[in-house]
Amino acid sequence: MSPSAERASVSRLADRAGARWQEHAPVSFGETSVAATWTPSDADEVAHALAASAELGAAVLPRGAGTQADCGNLPERADCFLSSAALETIDALDASEGVCHAGAGTPLARLQAAAVEAGWELPLEDAGRGSSLGGVLATARLTPRAQGFGRVRNVVLGLEIAHANGTVTRCGGRVVKNVTGYDLAKLYLGSLGSLGVLCGAWLRLRPKPQRVVRLESDPGTETASRAVDWARRASVRACAVREGATKAGAAIELAGDAASVAADRDALIAEGLQEAEDVDLFAHPAADGHLEFQLSFLPTRWPALAAHLRDLSVGYCAWPGLGVLSVQFDADAERAFALAGEAAAIAEGRWRCETPSLAGERDVFGATDAESALGRALKAQFDPAGVLNPGRMAGRL
């Protein structure tokens, strides 16, 4: 679309949105930038906004709290943000059932606090980022406590989604066991808003642990190899191991019934770990200008992978219980992508670039296999006009 046509469609979107349209300083994504936000107030309005955008051919970037606004590939086109800010509700929190329903714009921290107050725990985490529920589900990112919590896909029971054809649909339900129809929720989770906008979700809570203990190890390279065994102890909820210039060592969180936690705590202390008030389970934030990658690895490939990264003298933070690590390469994009590919081959795993603005023209998912042919067909079914986060998903869908 030509720039003038684009401007025309943006002004017509503004007309359609009325009071729910706000212009602001431009936010840039590579070559494109966005200077307006549409904030519908319920799922039907989200669907209307999408239908209007599809009609005008305007590209929409769904947005939660914006903490990972440029995750995935950079969008190819962008006319406005579609914010979930007005979808902030906790509609149901059933303390005897252990399930809850909330709107996509609800800050995860607020939902987490409500669950704890009801005697449960929400098995999703945002590490104090201020993420929205919708953003966490749309990215379905692996975070360290996924070892104990399970992945995002295990937590979501049902979803409401607004589509580019102007409809709102539901999938799944509110009960924990359900094989009624296709399990479409799996497709929407982690789809980075490319198929529809998540408006609300039923989530499964888990019992609050009787006891939580955090431990850390002294820095040392030996830690890295032993941590794989530590991570497999029954009550380990998260385990992070780091090697690098500024920090090294392991951080472990135990959670669960008091007896199992006590037993694992004693065993780990006998191995030389110490109890700690607080431990950092997350990777260090990417240093400016460094390309960051997430790599998966098979547990048996860990020694070879760790040795390889040590030889390259690059720092990493690994979650051996999940078989994932994040690593930064201080190199130009071409070399960094090549290094990621080499490391993944050693790991018998996959890589994904987490710093899209530095990736240039490359697909940050490194994807283009049979799956992206299916992906294209899926995208064409759900978003034929290509208005939802165009280009962002793997395979530049």
Binding site: D94, E160, D183, L187, L189, R352
Partner: protein, 487 residues
Amino acid sequence: MASAPDASSRSALIPALEAVVGRERCLSTPEELLVYECDGLTSHVATPTAVVFPETTEEVQALVRACRTAGVPFVPRGAGTGLSGGALASDDAVVVECSRMQAIRHIDVENRIAVVEPGVVNADLSVAAKPHGLFYAPDPSSQLACTLGGNVAENSGGPHTLKYGTTTDHVLALELVLPDGACITLGDASGLAPGFDWVGAVVGSEGTLGIVTAMTVRLEPIPERVETLLAIFDDVVSACRAVGRIIESGLVPAALEIVDQRTIRAVEDSVYAAGLPRDAGAILIVELDGPDVALDAQIAEVQTHCRADGAERVEVARDETERTQFWRARKGAFGAMGRLAPDLYVHDAVVPRTALPEVLAKVCEIGDRYGLTLSNVFHAGDGNLHPNISFDRRDPDEMARVIAAGEAILRTCVEAGGVITGEHGVGSEKSDYISLVFGEADLDAMQKLRSVFDPERVCNPGKIFPTTRFCAESNPKARGYDRVPFG
């Protein structure tokens, strides 16, 4: 649907199938086909055009292409234990039975994964993994017969779903022959495959998106210790309350199963007799597993909770023999029902766990209202009901009452916030009832996924989606959607 095949392409089909698998692995005479006219749901029958038994992925591909050329649809099938008519040969389909694809290709002990073919019987994988201290967690009660391919298609659960989750939580990658004959791999063992969660979408799609020809699954370490408790209650409502108390206390048992009085009596009258008190109102089986140090406290807690709800006796199995005996009452229940009447209709619906007492009362009332013998055995911790109706198919009036009561039960469950199937699938049995749960737009979204894999609807036609749609007026849930998110 695919365009109607002309007679000549259809008559060329059998030789084309035989060219792929040989005569001995292609059944096509009326007598041979008789066995395959239904699965575990005997009330729905259809005669297939042929039944073929591929042994390799390439053979599956060639068979699918032959069906396409002839314009005849095809239906994947495992052991045929499905209870919702999922493997029914609708539209004169060819049945592609995967039971001969039985290799456990690889068990990777260190990485705790296995690569298996779809015809592997569920229980056989755990047997193979056992020497390595591992097991495959999803354990449908039919696990001695059903196949892993069928489990993937139905997203099967079982008694231990409460703690370990259903099949979808254990499958990492799938090899799938698409309805156009191409073969693709979805997902991978790393869990970081780029793009959409295709494995998640295919698991539970009831054989309508393609034929699974191999899968990579996760294996779990065998728990250090397992304890099984049996609590005896005066009535089923007290047993349900105890379940609520256990879950609210923060315990996560491996299983929480309830067997009601009618079932207890049927079991005690049968070869599965487990020495249960015949006058008990209900029994609750609680299984706890995990690290040795954790279990003593948990056993004591479960006993306290059960007694608080009036359990007269709470026994802990003293040894493996007694443990097996407790489970026999649960697992033998379906078999024991065979004594009550020639046929058994095993329903499968889910309600929020807290609604169990109220819904069970309504379900029993429905049974009485229709003059039927109804008994309950169910996964209480998941709210997954199995109301079983004993009947005689030869009595058309009784058959009609069974169908009507079944619909009334499903409506009751949906009204309580539940769904029409928790583990057996929609199949052909409930395709007209799916509209109780999902509206037109929701079903259209599912059809969009179908179109990605099977635009011509040649793979397992007639399943999941309504053939006649309920009108919105007769659908109380559909009207409530805009007010309450899913009821």
